[in-house]
Amino acid sequence: MDKKELISFEEDIKKIYEDGKIKAPVHLSGGNEEQLIEIFKNVDKDDWVFSSWRNHYHALLHGVDKEFLKDLIVRGKSMSVYSDKPKFYSSSIVGGIIPIALGTAMSIKMKGGENKVWCFVGDMTFESGIFYECYKYSRNFDLPLQFVVEDNGLSTNTPTEETWGGKQTPPADVYHYEYERTYPHHGTGNWVLF
């Protein structure tokens, strides 16, 4: 999927949401198309991808069927997108997805598998204690787990750097990129009457 197709998908969802047809929060992706397209060149179709509440682009770029994804979102499942083929799972609790990704990576190693686990987290999640526990464990035991920190400086609207009094520098083996989000934390920025 290219940048134009990604943006177009979210614009379609935006319209459906503003028409009052989605009776749940939607977390639209935007502003990080180019970075994600580059990262997903390294993701194998049989790899596991774990994501968060803002997951639409991750799902699309991992090969989740566009119509299946759209159906999920319209049915109110923007925050919990999943797929068995390709393997994709998301959670809307900050940090909660990381140990699950860690365990899946561990199981791949135990079974002698060759695939990887990709775990996408935001910059606030990256600062949390559970990230450091899981990162440390995965590296000490050489697990096939690749972290990606997507840094828009905010968690909901809480500024990460201001509230922590600073920010940590991600380790060299963690993908990290900064971007400015196109849409608000959830919704589209326009008032919607349901």
Binding site: K77, Y82, A101, M110, E133
Partner: protein, 176 residues
């Protein structure tokens, strides 16, 4: 057979399955009562992990997603309060969130801390069975009160398609 013997028998039965693994604190190194029910099991089947209950619970869920059946051991019920996000918000919600697509099966063991002959005090002896039952909907909670039920309960936990938390009584290791 007695309470502890039934637990040992159940663990041996689980250990014979190709897809099981035992994970937790004091599963490979001594330190609590649960260890004494696992010490004869092949070391390759036991993963001693750091004290990070939240991660341990989530790891077990992630392993289960990929076809492993973890027997996830928490030495005392009190310590399980440290893993509630992974248990309640994740493992217990996964079937609903994925509309039945992902059904991770984790078998959890914990123990209500003993009070006799040593009383562990209020941070090591609580029974949260009813509280957990009221919070968990995709995870079954089973209280192991009698030796006769122990083996069949572990068999049911393994043969079923849901996750199960089996709660032991530390005091019964000696008393029943």
């Amino acid at each position: 057979m007695k309470y502890k013997d039934e637990l040992i028998r159940s663990m041996k039965w689980l250990a014979d399955k190709d897809d099981t693994i035992f994970i937790g604190q004091s599963v490979l190194h001594s330190g609590n009562a649960i260890y004494n029910t696992l010490k004869d099991i092949d070391e390759e089947k036991r993963i001693e992990v750091p004290v990070f209950e939240e991660v341990q619970m989530g790891m077990s869920t992630g392993m289960a997603l990929n076809g492993i059946v973890p027997i996830c051991c928490f030495p005392r019920f009190d310590f399980m309060l440290r893993c509630m996000d992974s248990l309640v918000n994740h493992l217990d919600k996964m079937q609903t969130m994925t509309e039945g697509t992902f059904k991770p099966k984790v078998i959890m063991r914990t123990s209500i801390g003993s009070t006799n002959p040593l009383d562990g005090g209020v941070q090591h002896t609580q029974d949260y069975t009813m509280s957990f039952k009221s919070m968990l909907h995709e995870v079954d909670v089973v209280l192991l009160e009698e030796p006769d039920n122990i083996f069949t309960e572990f068999q049911s936990a393994y043969n079923g398609d849901r996750s199960t938390l089996l709660v032991e009584y530390g005091d019964y290791y000696n008393d029943k």
